[in-house]
C-alpha cells in the first residue's frame, strides 16, 4: 500500500487527498446512517417516558416504569409468547421443508432448474400481497381453500378469523412466502459442496443415510445456520403478513411485537409502551444479528475465495 502513495499524479482537476478520499466517498451513505440513528435514539427516550398522544400534558420521564410494567402485564407476555411461537414454528417448518426441496432438486437438470426458478416466485411477491391472496383463497363464502376444507369434512373452517386456527393460517402464508428463501440458499450450498467425499463414500458403498448425516449435513451446516438465523431475524419481527391478514386478531391472538407496537401507537396512542416494546424487540434482534453476522462473514469469505 505504501508504494501507491507515490503514484498520485492526478491528470484531471480532481484533487482530493488520498487519505480523505474514502471518507468523501462514503460520507453520503454515512449521513443517511446518522439520519436514521436520530429517530432510533428518540425511540429509546420515548420508551423511558410516560407518553400518550391523547394526554400530551401528562408526558414526563418515568424511567423504567414502562419496562417494569411488562412483568405484570399479561398482554406483554402474550406478545412475547406469540412472537416466539410464530418465529419458532415458521423457521423450523421452513427449514425442514426447504432442506427437503433442496435435496429433491439437488441434481442439475433442466427440469430441476426450471422448478427451482418457479419456486422463487412466491418469495418475490410482496408479503402483504401474498397475505391478501391467501385471504381471498380462505374467504368463507367463495375461498377455494374453504371449499376444499368442506370437502374433507371441515365445514365452516374459518382459517384466519377463528382464534384457534389464525396462527396456523398465517404460518401457512409465511411458509408459502419464505420456504423458497431457505430452499434457494441451501440448494446453492448443496451444489457448491466438493464432490470427492461423496465419490469416495459411493465407492466404499456407504449407506445413503450415513452419507447424509455424516457428510452432507455437516458440510451444509454453515449454510443452514446462515439461512436459519436470517429467517429467524425476519420472522420474529414479522409484520406484513400478520397485519395484512388479521391486524393482530382475532382478539389478541396474533399481536406479535411489531403488530402490538403499531396498535399501541396508532390505536391506544400509548407511545411510551410502544417504544419500550420496540426497544425489547431490537435487543433480541441485536443479539441474534451478532451471531448471524459472524456466520454470514465466514460464508461470505468462502464465497469470495471461490470467486
Amino acid at each position: 500500500m505504501a508504494s501507491t502513495a507515490t503514484l498520485r499524479k492526478p491528470a484531471s482537476g480532481f484533487r482530493i487527498s488520498r487519505k480523505m478520499l474514502p471518507y468523501v466517498l462514503s460520507l453520503p451513505a454515512l449521513l443517511v446512517c446518522i439520519g436514521i440513528l436520530i429517530p432510533f435514539i428518540t425511540a429509546v427516550i420515548y420508551s423511558f417516558q410516560r407518553y400518550r398522544l391523547s394526554q400530551p400534558w401528562a408526558r414526563q420521564f418515568n424511567w423504567g416504569e414502562n419496562y417494569l410494567n411488562f412483568f405484570t402485564d399479561p398482554a406483554f407476555w402474550n406478545t412475547l409468547k406469540v412472537s416466539l411461537l410464530y418465529a419458532g414454528i415458521t423457521v423450523t417448518l421452513e427449514l425442514l421443508l426447504g432442506l427437503g426441496i433442496a435435496l429433491l432438486l439437488q441434481r442439475r437438470s433442466t427440469v430441476n432448474n426450471f422448478i427451482s426458478i418457479m419456486l422463487l416466485l412466491p418469495l418475490m411477491i410482496a408479503p402483504a400481497l401474498a397475505a391478501l391472496m391467501w385471504k381471498l383463497m380462505t374467504n368463507p363464502s367463495f375461498g377455494i381453500l374453504s371449499y376444499l376444507a368442506s370437502l374433507i369434512g371441515l365445514h365452516d373452517f374459518r382459517w384466519a378469523s377463528s382464534p384457534s386456527t389464525a396462527l396456523l393460517t398465517v404460518v401457512l402464508v409465511d411458509i408459502w412466502v419464505y420456504t423458497p428463501f431457505i430452499m434457494i440458499l441451501l440448494l446453492a450450498g448443496l451444489r457448491s459442496l466438493p464432490t470427492q467425499p461423496f465419490e469416495a463414500a459411493a465407492l466404499d458403498g456407504v449407506p445413503r443415510t450415513f452419507v447424509f448425516f455424516r457428510i452432507t449435513l455437516p458440510m451444509l451446516t454453515p449454510y443452514i445456520l446462515t439461512a436459519t438465523l436470517f429467517r429467524l431475524l425476519d420472522s420474529i419481527q414479522q409484520f406484513d403478513i400478520i397485519y395484512a391478514m388479521t391486524q393482530g386478531g382475532p382478539g389478541n391472538t396474533l399481536t406479535v411485537f411489531q403488530v402490538e407496537a403499531y396498535l399501541n401507537f396508532f390505536q391506544s396512542t400509548n407511545v411510551g409502551r410502544s417504544a419500550a416494546l420496540m426497544v425489547i424487540l431490537w435487543a433480541i434482534t441485536y443479539l441474534l444479528s451478532n451471531i448471524f453476522i459472524k456466520n454470514w462473514l465466514r460464508l461470505r469469505e468462502r464465497a469470495r475465495g471461490e470467486a
Binding site: 501507491t4 503514484l7 492526478p10 488520498r18 478520499l21 474514502p22 471518507y23 466517498l25 453520503p28 451513505a29 454515512l30 446512517c33 439520519g35 436514521i36 436520530i38 429517530p39 432510533f40 429433491l104 422448478i115 419456486l119 422463487l120 416466485l121 418469495l123 418475490m124 411477491i125 410482496a126 408479503p127 402483504a128 400481497l129 391472496m133 391467501w134 385471504k135 381471498l136 383463497m137 363464502s141 367463495f142 377455494i144 371449499y147 420456504t179 428463501f181 434457494i184 440458499l185 446453492a188 457448491s192 459411493a202 446462515t226 419481527q237 406484513d240 395484512a244 403499531y262 410502544s274 417504544a275 431490537w282 434482534t285 441485536y286 444479528s289 461470505r300 464465497a303 469470495r304 470467486a307
Partner: protein, 285 residues
Amino acid sequence: METTSTLEKTLRLIALSLVVIFFMFPIFWIFLMSFQTNETILAIPPSVIFTPTLSNYAALITGKLTTAAGTLDIAFMRNLGNSIFLSVTSVALALVLGVPAAYAFARHKFKGSEDIAFTLLSFRFAPPLLVLLPLTQYFQWLGLSDTYFGLIWVYQLICLPLILWIVRGYFEDISADVEYAYRIAGHSWFATFRKIALPLAGPGIAAAGLLAFIFAWNNFVFALVLASADKQPVTVGALAFVTSSGIQYGQIASAIVLSVTPTLALALYAQRYLVEGLSLGAVKG
C-alpha cells in the same frame, strides 16, 4: 453409482409435484380469479371453466367502477404510479450513495470503515417500526409527512445496505493491480473508478439495483406508517381495497396481479443473481 429404484423415482416425482402445486397454485388461482366476475367467483363448486372477462382490469385502469349504486372512483393506477416512482427513485438514490461508498469500503481499509459498513448492515435487521414511529413525528415537524422525498429517504433503509454489501463484493473481486496499472499511466482516481472499476462491476451493480427495486416495491410497513393517501404504493393500496365497499373480488385479484407482475418479471430476469442478493453476498448462486 447410485441405485435408484422405480419406487424411489415415483416417490420423488410425487413429492416434487406436491411442492410445485403448493407453491404455484395460489398464483394460478388468483390469476384465474382476476378474469372472473363475482357471479362465477361465488359459484359453488368453484370451477376453472368460465368465460373470461377483462372488466376487472378495465375498471382498475380507467379508475371508474360502475356498481348498482353508481360510479365509484378507484385510485389503483395512482398506487401503481407511486410504486413505480418510489422504487425507481429510491434505487437511483441508493446507487448514487451506495456505489461510491461500496468502492471506498472495498478498496480502502480506513478508520471506522468496517464499523460504518456493519452499522448499515444492521439496519437491515433492526425492527423497522422502532424508527418509523418516531419518524412520523419528525416528518410532521420537518414538513416531510406529505412528500415523496421523505419516503424515498426512508426507503434507503432497504436499498442502501443491499447495494452497499453486494456491490462491495463485486469491487473486491476486481484485481487491484488492474487499477494500479491504469493509475500509473497517469490517470486520476476518478478516471480509474469510472473507466475501470465501474464497467467491471457493472453487471453486479445492475443486479443489486434490480434486487433493491424488488425489495422497495414489496415494502409495506414504511408506506403504511408514513405515506399519505395519495402517495401510497400498491402494497398499501391493494390492502385498502378489501375494506372499501363496492369493490368486487375479481377486481382485488386483478389488482394483485397488476401489483406483482413487475417484481415477478424482474425476478425471472435477474434470477441468476437472486441467491447472492438474498444472502447479501454471502452465498454465490
